[in-house]
Symmetry: D2
Subunit: 261 residues, 4 copies
């Protein structure tokens, strides 16, 4: 599937404001970026760097006045996410070094507090893919997906208490449960074709059978059409924009995903 | 100052147990490792790797039975920690890429929740070193340092509520307060000469005036004699041992630091 | 200056052939990629990775038949390259770790053989920028720039013997002479506005006064309009395509650079 | 096998001289460093860093006068090097990213010039381990191993012309031949138990069947007892000391390797 994504942001800036953005998709093993645009108005010096997780990040200082970012990409991605029923748990000793940090608790995924719950939800499951599949199903049945219900990320503990959350929050709980079972898990931020209502999206991946698999508790079946912007331990790592100094909120924020034939 | 450190751990293992250890000090800009020993009994295959923060980590599977780790090092470190009163805050746009991740909230340092408190504690201070110094003094006066008061790490919010904690917990609150001011801060785990009672120690560093400075709210004055084992965002990153599977606790844990003339 | 670059390659493939390509420009401190396209026909699975020098590389296996690659980008770059007369030599001990490998001899830059020649060419020059400027002038006067004169890279020794070469070859000799003076130097491959005849281009950078400066012995004055595709120690690191197995040569190779107003 | 290695170097320094040293063995998948000492006299500030190949390097400025380095280690390594007859060639597309740079020609391994020779030597061999084994046997029979025959590294082309060389030179030719067959190969510098005459040693590794295998054309059979100090593309990357400014040669250079029971 060939998708055209776009994300336009507009801010009103009152004093020089440093931004770190994560809005340039990378080609990798799961997607190919055929075309990509990234415009900043007014023209502003930008430095791009690669963070600890391999994401391309853009650093700049927005000057007072209107400041807008306009990005777009054509990405080839698969029609259906891979499923891997019965794919086995990878023993800690066999995990690649780079995957190990996704076993640790993080800001919004207090995996150290979910040992019993993780064990209960996955009881009787074959270790590996089936456990994560059980976790995802449990999230679908027990945590209400309420887009727009909050702005600040909820941690796994908070989501579990409230029983509802946005996509990012469900991902946090899913990740914490996986890690409680020693399954490496990470958050993914990006776009999803046909998401309702359309917006940036977040889901999670778990490392099973020597590769990463995609899981998304906000969707009933397993569509494809995912475009990745960034990976991280949780929402703290993958903000599409981090801004420093007095808070500035986008006065416009427009996200689109269309299929290209 | 030349210090001889040692850390001996002994476990009784009941089933094959993966461990990730962080017990080998690295030479760097602030310490020189002259001698170093690392013995594992019984002899066990170990793979060493470098994590995201530059720490040397050792990965192994302990087999059932007694399992002991014996490490020792002779390290040259400075007699007094550097102080940098009036050293300036580094603007976000001028921070090295590798330092940026230390601005983000993490598992035990919910810096996103400390904006007002950070501002209040540092009111009237010159931006930079003096702010972190004010934070450290505030910790000394307001949070009781109670070695051995808990085993599980407390997050900054928890420490702030309880008003007491171990070294690691005070560091978490200090780090969260620094990050709330856009000052990069990281936890450090290692040894401290003359620590009372002797044990592994944790403190924090803040990035000011284009370098890292050491801060330790558990000590009244500013002694030197620090030996670093590892750096990270918070305690989740710098466990001297992470163990997977059914919990195993050390039945012996002996730490020593002596000066060598 | 806003440039639109394009590079189109077409191959006839007779057996499955692995390729590693370096045709995606990265935004960095010296250029901003506003738009970028990368199409492969027929559609082929590609994995993108980052090499040791920070370049984005694309790995794929071309299947038998016609195989074409079509890339294009809009890049904002400066109108004039920075010059830094009198910028000082950086003492070895003050070089960033990541720059050190650019001091060592490499496949096509046998810097260990140019100590006397490097000293002679730069005699009387202030250490640093002026030395590299003297080297570049010496190249302009002594080594004839003959585009198309050879296909295989010449090493610094070979260029020095032949007294002529393509852009890449002149860069090799310039780099070897810089390194012989303990000045870190690296090759750059990319595009140059108004290059005659138009083609991919190569030049070099030297690390002076705590930053990289651009030098190009093939151009008389110091125009701007450079677009970087990749950095490396020499031509061995920055082939725009490396192909494995029986040799395959492009049957079409079209490069364009236009200014966009 | 548990080996005690030592390397002592003494220099007479006439002006402040920057050094980069590579004398600290790392624990990895093939060796475990139980004890390690590294003393510098007179005491000198040192900064340790990790290079592009994962080696620990030490950077310092030696001051005028006598300057000595004394290193020692106890390392557990295997009694016999692993052999992998019939282990298969890894297709380019399946190589890990980090291995790819070991396919390229480098300063002393002009692999681009050995395609025919590499094919001839390995004719009829199963692709993979058996090819590298054939190359190693060919080196044993055709290139005389003459310890001490030269100080400066010879490139693969030079060794092939002279028909003799030191350990490092034989490794260069072996590596160039491997790479000419698209087999990743790297130089290794370190110690070898029972080497005659005792000195630092160099050999090579080739990537076959998804792991690195050790090859050493200077030894008739396949003993174990190897202790690795560093890896690289060729001798340019793995000097145990690189020194900048006017040349300084060790006035003492003592290497020992003993078995410890």
């Amino acid at each position: 599937m060939r998708l055209r994504t776009s994300c336009d942001l507009k801010f009103e800036i009152f004093e020089p404001t440093p931004f770190i953005l994560m809005l340039r998709p990378r080609s990798g093993s799961q997607q190919w970026v055929e075309r990509e645009e990234y415009k900043i108005t007014p023209s502003t010096p930008v430095v791009e760097f690669t963070d600890n997780y391999g994401n391309l990040c853009q650093r700049l200082i927005a000057q007072p006045g209107m400041f807008s970012i306009s990005t777009s990409s054509d990405v080839v991605t698969s029609n259906f996410i891979d499923q891997g029923f019965d794919s086995p748990f990878v023993e800690i000793q066999n995990l690649p070094d780079a995957v190990l940090s996704y076993l640790l608790p993080s800001r919004y995924c207090e995996s150290d507090c979910f040992n019993e719950m993780g064990a209960a939800i996955t009881e009787g499951q074959l270790m590996g893919y089936n456990q994560v599949s059980a976790i995802t199903n449990w999230l679908r049945e027990n945590i209400e997906y309420l887009p727009g219900s909050n702005n600040e990320p909820l941690s796994a503990i908070q989501v579990n208490n409230r029983q509802f959350g946005v996509c990012r929050d469900l991902a946090h709980l899913g990740i914490a449960l996986c890690r409680s079972l020693s399954i490496p898990a990470r958050i993914v931020v990006g776009y999803l074709h046909n998401l309702e209502p359309m917006d940036m999206h977040a889901w999670f991946e778990a490392y099973i059978g020597n590769r990463w698999y995609t899981f998304d508790a906000t969707q009933v079946d397993s569509p494809g059409g995912y475009v990745v912007l960034g990976f991280g331990r949780d929402a703290a790592d993958v903000a599409i924009f981090n801004q420093f100094g007095p808070s500035v909120f986008p006065i416009e924020h427009l996200v689109k995903v269309e299929e290209r034939l």
